[in-house]
């Protein structure tokens, strides 16, 4: 994404989150407009189907409203929202995995027919769960390696190394 656009969106989102923390619920509506797509897509890459991703989207909006006061003005609203998205998606994934057999754990789960294109599924299938998150959060969501590292509770250099490894893996896959 163009860095200027991203900055423009984040500036608006920062204001919306501040409004929300002061009780203006329309801030939530603005956040939905700005980040709804991002939340849905990032959630998909973790939970593996759009039905669950929509549940995540709804839960994230609830959490944002409930814990709006935790957001500090001037921080990265994108990283904040993505962090909530990731945690919510992982929690949902854990719930789903508890209902799966041991063999199925680790595969990209699918609950119904609401799946992304074959190309997207193929890409995600090449990566581990952690790699999927690192690649998606950095490339698609536009977070820095440092922000991704904080989210995954690893060092920035580790985040970058894992990212490079994932890229190599994908390169090999596409070349073959």
């Amino acid at each position: 994404m163009n860095i200027l656009w991203q900055a423009r969106i984040d500036k608006q989102a920062d204001k919306a989150l501040c409004d929300l923390s002061q009780g203006d619920m329309n801030g939530l509506s603005v956040i939905y407009d700005l980040y709804g797509r991002l939340i849905l897509s990032v959630a998909y890459t973790i939970v593996g189907n759009f039905a669950d991703a929509e549940d995540v989207l709804q839960d994230v909006m609830l959490l944002l409203a409930r814990y709006a006061n935790l957001y500090k003005a001037g921080n990265s609203p994108r990283a904040y929202v993505m962090s909530i998205t990731r945690n919510t998606a992982i929690n949902l994934l854990k719930k789903r995995k508890n209902n799966l057999s041991t063999d199925e754990i680790g595969e990209v789960p699918s609950r119904d027919g609401k799946l992304a294109s074959v190309e997207v599924q193929d890409l995600l299938a090449q990566l581990t769960e952690e790699e999927r998150q690192i690649v998606t959060l950095h490339i698609y969501a536009g977070l820095s390696h440092r922000q991704v590292a904080e989210m995954l509770e690893i060092s920035p250099s580790a985040a970058e190394k894992k990212y490079q490894r994932a890229l190599k893996k994908l390169k090999k896959h596409y070349e073959s």
């Binding site: 994404m1 163009n2 656009w5 423009r8 969106i9 608006q12 619920m25 329309n26 939530l28 509506s29 603005v30 939905y32 407009d33 700005l34 980040y35 709804g36 797509r37 991002l38 849905l40 897509s41 998909y44 890459t45 759009f50 929509e54 989207l57 709804q58 909006m61 609830l62 409203a65 609401k114 992304a116 294109s117 190309e119 997207v120 890409l123 690649v135 998606t136 490339i139 698609y140 890229l167 994908l170 390169k171 596409y174």
Partner: protein
């Protein structure tokens, strides 16, 4: 590799974002105060009464400007949105404050899911001749990035797959130094051509060559002379020539490539200069027309009879007999604008129609009478008659705002007439009769010399029925030959 992954991941964007009201249903205070939800209109096929149909057609042709509903909400964001619109030359006309903000958010968040966004982006790109290059179906995002974001001047789509031409100016110390034309293929630069002392105003690709037109400059000052370059596929200059007009400051608005010639439409304050040159840059003809050069630039020109149909901003204009004027009547001299069908689809009114010679069958006249008026003779071969017919008849599809009657887009197909419109499976199908053969009666009945009627029942004019399929946003997404053949109908029942 990163770009490839990014492209693949962005395929996720094609999945529709759930309705905001559904997701935020747990927050009635948001729902109550939030802007209205985006509803997907239910397609309805509606035959309008002739009076209403005529009113629509009139409204479309009159191009009535739509009013803007003012809603006092979040002035700051609205101002930011308006700055954004201005920055990218997007037209805010016809959109409410609420819609402007939503479009703004939709674009900057790169969601491209709001239905009005397409309308806003398409506002500067309306008017397509289907047999050339319709709007690319790759999507709104691509349209946005190619049409608005690349900040290197204007761009022109080529007939070549994946090729665009962009152009820009090199200015220093308030003086123009040079212009640059860039050829892009599949988002990669093929070449960049610098043209010194030249102010580029328009480009027109023809095969793998490209015409580049603008004003010749000397020492950073305009010379008021139109200069045209022809560049080959390697960006080498095949030729360049200067053309002097009587206009005070000619600005090339549009270039139309037609039948081996390039037609330049240049305008000053009150006049238009229409210059035709051939592929070698040789002068073919020129003429001047009275023209009110205020408001938007001409974005599309199609040939229409002796003159031209032009789209100027949101206004449909006609150049005829040395005057460029708004199309304000359904009958204009020797031409009639006939609406043959209408349908309401996804909140827009589609009018299928045709521009035909103003021949009164009731008075016993036909296409050959018209031919006679033009050429002083009645006899011609089937081949000539077919070509003449094709030159005179044009199918049009007008896409209008149902409230204001404002024309938003139009499509034309030369040598054809627009027929039925059908909505099915959230797609609109436009039936078009493309005329293949207009049989000259003398070739059928050797001794007959009169009564060359073209009309229902005579079976002399055969057309192939093609179907053009449009998305709910008015984009052409497919075409097919139905294999059916029909006769010409003077006026559809």
């Amino acid at each position: 590799m990163k770009k490839k992954i990014d492209n693949i991941l962005h395929q996720l964007d094609s999945y529709p974002l759930p309705e905001k009201t559904k997701i935020l249903a747990a927050f009635p205070e948001v729902s109550a105060e939030a802007e209205e939800p985006i509803k997907a209109p239910i397609p309805v096929r509606r035959r309008l009464s002739p009076a209403k149909l005529a009113a629509f057609a009139m409204a479309a042709l009159l191009i009535v400007g739509g009013g803007i509903t003012v809603a006092a909400m979040e002035a700051k964001e609205y101002n930011e949105a308006m700055d954004f619109f201005e920055e990218y030359n997007l037209s805010a006309e016809g959109f409410s404050r609420s819609e402007i903000k939503k479009i703004y958010r939709d674009i900057v968040s790169e969601s491209f899911t709001y239905e009005k966004t397409e309308e806003a982006l398409a506002s500067g790109l309306v008017g397509y001749e289907i047999q050339s290059k319709p709007l690319d179906s790759d999507g709104l995002k691509r349209l946005w990035q190619m049409g608005y974001v690349w900040n290197i001047g204007d761009q022109q789509q080529s007939g070549e797959e994946g090729v665009q031409y962009h152009y820009s100016l090199g200015m220093t110390a308030e003086k123009l130094q040079f212009s640059e034309v860039v050829k892009m293929k599949n988002d990669q630069r093929v070449w960049k051509k610098r043209l010194d002392d030249f102010y580029v105003q328009e480009v027109r690709p023809v095969g793998d060559h490209v015409f580049v037109a603008g004003e010749a400059y000397q020492n950073g000052e305009g010379t008021r002379t139109v200069r045209v370059y022809l560049l080959d596929s390697d960006s080498d200059v095949v030729w360049f020539k200067d053309y002097k007009s009587n206009l005070s400051v000619p600005v090339v608005n549009y270039m139309l490539y037609q039948k081996g010639n390039c037609i330049l439409f240049s305008a000053s304050n009150d006049r238009m200069w229409i210059l035709t040159i051939d592929m070698n840059g040789n002068y073919v003809s020129d003429r001047y027309a009275r023209y009110d050069n205020t408001g938007a630039k001409i974005t599309k020109v199609v040939s229409l009879g002796d003159g031209y149909l032009m789209l100027k901003g949101n206004q449909l204009m006609q150049e005829k007999n040395g005057t460029v004027q708004k199309m304000a009547t359904l009958q204009n001299g020797n031409e009639q604008y006939q609406i043959t069908d209408s349908v309401e689809f996804n909140g827009l009114v589609y009018l299928s129609g045709r521009v035909v010679p103003n021949i009164s069958i009731a008075d016993g006249k036909d296409i050959l009478d018209y031919y006679e008026e033009r050429f002083g003779q009645t006899l011609c071969s089937t081949e000539e008659l077919t070509q003449f017919f094709k030159d005179q008849y044009t199918a049009v599809l007008l896409i209008c705002d149902p409230n204001s009657g404002r024309l938003q887009q139009f499509y034309t197909i030369p040598g054809a007439t627009g027929s039925n419109l059908t909505v099915k499976d959230n797609k609109l199908t436009w039936d078009v009769n493309r005329y293949a053969k207009v049989q000259h009666i003398c070739e059928t009945y050797k001794d007959v010399r009169i009564g060359y009627l073209v009309g229902a029942g005579f079976g002399l004019v055969q057309a192939d029925v093609w179907q053009y399929v449009f998305s709910p946003y008015g984009q052409l997404v497919g075409e097919k030959d139905t294999g059916r053949s029909v006769e010409y109908e003077d006026y559809p029942s």
